[in-house]
Every structure is written in C-alpha cells, then in structure tokens.
Symmetry: C2
Subunit: 435 residues, 2 copies
C-alpha cells in the first residue's frame, strides 16, 4: 500500500474548468430508461414497459409521489428509440406519434409541474445506436434548438455511427449549440467511451469544459459481472479519472441497476456505495412501480446519497487492494470528513478484515465513525485495531468525521504543490496523513 | 431442436442398479456447512459461525422449529474441519475437543431427538482438503465403524490427496464397510469430481451400485457465475449424466446457495428450479438463523420441492437452447405429468418468449399448467401459442399435467427398445410425442 504516493497523484486534481452552464454542481440524480427498457417499442403487447410517454409519466409519478424527488432523484431521462424514423417536413426530429402522441414538450411540462426535469437522447452519427435518426454535424444546431423549444433539461449525446474526427467537431459544437439556446441543458457526452476512455485519445480537460458528464466506458448490463467490470476499469484508471471530475463535470460509470434482476442485496449496496465513492451520476434504470422495499431502502439511503452529493465533488480512490480480496476505497468530503469503503471480492463467506485508521493513513486523533448501511456509530482512535466483517460481494461503508480542521492552504504554502495550482474547494478535504 | 433424438438418448436410462441400502429413494434434503462456513475454526472471535457443535445444534433447532423438517430438509451435515488434528490412542478419528466437547454421538442424538439426521465428512487421502486426518485405505473399516458407532446417518467421502488407483479401491471399499456396519448410512462420493466427471474415467454404472450420490464437478461458490458454470456443465453432459441418476443414486451439482450473499431473488429461484429439474440433492448451505423471508419462500416452495422429489427420480434435460438466450428444460414426472422450465440467460430485460407445447414436443391434447412460483394455473392446448415473460437470469417454471395416461410398456412391446431393458419406473413418465 502506497497511500502517500497515491495521494500525491490525487492531489493533482481539480484544475480544469467546468462547463460554464452552472448545472450539475453535484452529480445529477434521476432515472434513465435504457438499461431496464432498452428499445422495447411493442406497445401493443407490452404496454406497461414500452418506450412511450406513458412510461416516462409513470416514472415521473413515482418519483414525485413516492419521495424520490426529495432525495434528489429529479431527472427523468429518455434514451434511444423515442423518435420517429423520419424527421419532419422542416427536417426536425419528432417523437414517434403513436408512442408519444402528446409530444415531448407536453411531457416536459408534465415533469416540470411535478418538480422534475426531462432528459432526452441523440446520437452524433447519421443513425442512433438502434437505428433512429441521428444528429450529425449539420443537424446539431437545429436539434439543440428543438430540444430547447421542447423545454428539455438534459441531453445525452451518444456516439454510434460517428468517427473520431466527427466526434472531435461534434461534441464541442453541440456544447456551444446547447449554450446558445439560452436554456440550461445538462450535457452528457458519450465521446470518451467511443475513444477508449483514456488519454491521449481522450482529453479530459476539454471534456470538463464542454460537458457536464461523460460516459467513459461500456454500457452497464444487469449483472454483477458487469458492475465489477466497470468498477475495475474506473479504479484501475483512477489517476486519470479522478482529476477529471469535479462540480459540473463528472465521470459517468453508467446507470444504477439496483431494483432489477441481476444483483443480490449485498451487490446492490456495493453498487450504491461504489457509485457514491466515485461521485458518479445516480441514474436508476428500474421499475419504480414494482421495486422491492429492499432495493428502495438502498437507493434511498440518505448517508450514501449525501456522500455521493458532497459539495467538494472530489472523486474517491481505491487505496488498498489486499490479496485476500478485500479492497478499501476512500473519498474526501466536506467538513474535514471522509468516506471509507471496505469491499469484498470474495465468493465464500464473510471476511473479518483487521486494520486501523492509521494503517489506512489517517492522521493521529479520535474519529467518529458512522456506518452508512447499519446506522451504527463509534468513536475510533487512529491507532485502534478494528475488525470489519465484510460479506462476499458486499461492502461496509463508513462516514468518518475527522478530529480537527486542517489548513490545506497553509500546507500548499502559497499556491502550488508539485506544479499544481491550489484549489479552494479542497480545503480540509484530506486527512493530514495523506499529505 | 431435436427433441426426438434427445429423447432416445434419454430413454436409455435407468438400467443400472442402485446401492442396496434402501436409502435416498428421492434426492436427500437438508443442510451442509461447507459453502457458507468453510473452515472457520475461530470460535473465540467468531463463536456463532465457527465449525462447532453449537453451529450444528443451531441449524438443527431451526430445521426442527421453523418447519423446514416437514418440507423434507432433514439432514444436518458436517463438512471438513470437524476433527482433531490427531487420531486418538486407538487410531480412531475424534472431533476437536474444544469445538465439539460433547462428541459426535451426542450431537447425533440431539438431531435424532428432533427427527433429523446427521451427516459427517471424511477424505480418501492421508489428509482432508484442508489438512485434517484423512481416511486412507487402511483406515476405511475403522472409520466406517466409528461413524456407525456415533450413529451417523450420512457420510461424504472427499478425494483430496488421493490418486486414481486409491480412489478405485477406496470408494467401493468404503461402500462395503458402511454396509457392513449394519447401520443405514447414506453415502456421498466425491470420486467422479476428481476424475473429470465423465466416462471412460468415471464409471457411472459402478457409482450407482456403490454410492447414493456423487459430486460430479467442482465446488459451488457464492456467485451466479458459479451456478451458471455448474448448470452448463451438467446440461452439456446430460446424455451421460441423466442415465446415471435414479432412486437411490443421484448426481450432485453441489449445495444450494440461496439465502447467502451472491444471488439475486431471480437467480435464487433459478437455482431452486434447475436443481429440481436435475433431481439434485437439496443441501442448503446458509444461515437459517438470519435467512431472509424472500430466500425462505423460494427454499420452501412446495411445488418445486415436489418436482425435485418426484418418485420416478428421472433427471431432467435441456430440450431447447435459443439464440435469444432462452433455454427450456423438461423433466418427466409421476402421474404422466412433467415439469417445464423456461430460463433466460439474458442480462437486459424480461424477454417475451413465444412457443407452444407442441413446439416443445408435447403430444396433442389439453394440459393443465401450474406456475410453480406464482401459483397461477391455466389450461393450455398443445397447439396454442403462448408467451412467457422470462426475467434476466430468471425462470418461469411450470408443473404440467398431461391429458391421458400412456402405456409405455405397450410401446416397448415386450421389454426392450433399442437394446434397452424396460424399466417400470418410467411408466407414464414421458409425454407421447417424445417417443
């Protein structure tokens, strides 16, 4: 474990500027259709689940009436397969008339009347991934204007059927076009996912300047393997990714599949906790009409949400990877606090992991620890050895209050550390010992 | 789909003789420590979960008091790590004195007083898999006598640290030695799992004559990947395996992990259903003190259990493997009935699978269909197209009552079909069309 080294890499974050639309200062939260409903357009035989205005109104009702909205889940996002196969006479995108008879603007109003926001989907190529009309370069301004006219609040710009050159032009162009409409529209870019997610092909400084969030990696599927695969990629590349994230600009490891078919309760808690550590957008893709109480309680966990939504917006890191299969993750939070996550990759039995805060590089002192999923609290000295019992594929997540304020500005002594400009938002973010 | 061909392979089953101890005419049911508790011997720090007489008495209490016993779950089985590291002065195995202070005989009485049965574990090598004293060739008779003296009801004979030659001698020798004690002791052989599970290295005719059940394949782990891996192996080799199974002699795909940490509810139903189709022993390895009500309701499903326990004891088969990821399994049951299982390997969304009973090779007629996990019933003509919506990694399982009795004996016309002796237990087992 080389936490000190890791930290210095971490400390070099936060220098890029965010997209200047003032949106999504914390990771956006809401609901997105794709993972759970895909391109189900068979409203005749599957009326409750097909991609139609009814589905989005149903979900809006649930978000508004069942208390999700108050927790922060406010976006209701359409994905692929919403549009007609042809543009209209004026060349504009139009929704499928049978499945969206009221049109998108009316749907947006339905949501706005309930305190919710509407997201819509497009694609940089001639066609979307499933084959609906895309938004290639020559359609960008028109479509941005259409979305603004419809009073849409967020736009996901996918990348199927486009090449690197087109993407290099198109993604910034759409950013400008959306801004030019005057309507605040959160902008989700799939660009990096189509370019392997890593520099030099991906320029995260630029992304932070033009997009509010971006998909770095492949689509999530309804399986634990898929979650693990995504988690591995994000933390293996944490040095690159954490420095890209911050208020208004987020890495997006894709939707929450909690409440669907493939995750156990342990695994559901793990996804929620890992997404909180990653400062990831929290878009559920599930059926809020029938979701189990167990899944609900995980998605509604206030402490996990507040860690995810921490105002500093610093993406957390994996700081320990044990041969036993135990991994420890850490995220610095406001008020000199932090989140600690113990995760087991084992598939046998609960593992009793022994460590101490000082072994996890916390500075000397007495900490208050709050267990996110059990509500237990404890006081813990940095030197005290403790045991956490971590279930197979499960997590133990702590909110850790630090003992004292640490003056990060003083440490930086005037503004730079290892060539890096001091960033106000990190004040008190990091327990002393990591420095 | 070549059901007719599949059936002929299937029809050649059931000719071998079962071990003549009269036991386990239906697949044994109960609880087995290994998957969930492994070799946890740390009773000081983990007293509730360590391998000790307390753990087995706790599980016995739950089985007896919570209604599991009445459903058929009667075995409480010890696995590795129960014994002292040394044999006693007379060379006999002895339990660890700290963890089993009352001894095995007293534990057996505790179980017998509650209408339960005790299983114990040994290994053909010098050492067990974890390193406790094994039962090599020269100790077989002594240990069989010890187990009988302790009034043990079942014995699992593992194969670590033994070679093929020793196994060839040892597994039959133990069978004889157990029978020679005069006490009925169910005999579980790990032999085939150590020889790759397939002929010519494995002789299933012989296994059926000396063992009540046998592990064919690797250990299950607490993950859906592990369940899928096991299921794939068993059904890819169904032509070999189904003919080996029957009353008193069972293929054992290993424990049920329902109620543990790695399976979603869908996946839990899938394991229960697939184990029922396979006529597999149902040994839960979980914590019956804390198991969720959702997991309980799956393990307690009476129709799934009755399919598993069907008196004919014919192991079912996979009869359809669609490119869509839908697979259909079928098991013939008593009273001219059958079980049909629709399974989805997809990881996206519920899949609407259209078929008909006649497409699944059922003969003409009107059938009664009972949905095992929803209790819905329906009448269904063989020719009627129907849609089953199968959730990702989930199942829809039907008990199908056939319209009329079919005289299999008449079909065989005097006793043989394709060189095969007619077997009484198959009477009415197979819907006509499969012939």
């Amino acid at each position: 474990m080389h936490v000190a080294v890791l930290f210095f890499a971490f400390a070099l974050t936060g220098t890029t500027l965010a997209l200047d639309n003032g949106l999504m200062r914390t990771p956006p939260m809401g609901w997105l259709a794709w993972e759970r409903y895909r391109c189900d357009i068979d409203c005749e035989n599957d009326p409750k689940n097909c991609i139609s205005e009814n589905l989005f109104m149903d979900m809006a009702d649930r978000l508004a009436e069942d208390g999700w909205k108050e927790l922060g889940y406010v976006y209701v996002n359409i994905d692929d397969c919403w549009s007609s196969k042809q543009r209209d006479d004026q060349g504009r995108l139009q929704p499928d008339p049978k499945r969206f008879p009221g049109g998108i603007k009316k749907l947006a109003h339905y949501l706005h009347n309930r305190g919710l926001k509407l997201g819509i989907y497009g694609d940089m190529g001639k066609l979307t991934c499933v084959g609906y009309p895309g938004t290639p370069l020559d359609k960008i301004e028109l479509d941005a204007q259409t979305f603004a006219e419809w009073e849409v609040d967020m736009f996901k710009y996918d990348g199927c059927y486009s090449n690197a050159t087109e993407q290099e032009q198109g993604y910034p162009l759409m950013s400008k076009a959306l801004n030019a409409t005057g309507r605040p529209i959160g902008y989700s870019c799939s660009w990096p996912a189509y370019q392997g997610g890593l520099p030099p092909k991906v320029n995260y400084t630029q992304l932070g300047e033009i997009c509010n969030l971006w998909r770095n990696y492949g689509d999530i599927q309804d399986s634990w393997d898929s979650v693990l695969n995504i988690v591995d990629w994000f933390f293996e590349n944490q040095d690159t990714l954490t420095s890209a994230a911050g208020p208004g600009r987020w890495n997006d490891p894709d939707m929450l599949i909690i409440g669907d078919f493939g995750l156990s309760m342990e695994q559901s808690r793990s996804q929620m906790a890992l997404w909180a550590i990653m400062a990831a957008p929290l878009f559920m893709s599930n059926d809020l009409r029938t979701i189990s109480s167990g899944a609900q309680s995980i998605l509604r966990n206030k402490m996990a949400i507040s860690i995810n939504q921490d105002a500093l917006g610093i993406q957390g890191r994996r700081i320990v990877k044990e041969k036993s299969g135990i991994e420890v993750f850490w995220r610095p939070l406001s008020k000199n606090a932090s989140a600690l996550l113990f995760f087991s990759r084992r598939t046998d039995m609960p593992y009793r992991y022994t460590t101490s805060l000082s072994k996890l590089s916390y500075t000397a002192g007495s900490y208050k620890v709050f267990n996110v999923f059990t509500d237990e609290t404890a006081s813990l000295k940095d030197s005290t050895e403790f045991v956490v019992s971590v279930n197979p594929t499960g997590v133990v997540m702590w909110y850790v209050s630090a003992p004292a304020k640490f003056n990060l500005r003083q440490f930086y002594q005037g503004g730079t550390l290892h060539g890096r400009v001091y960033d106000d938002r990190e004040e008190n973010a990091i327990p002393r010992v990591f420095l």
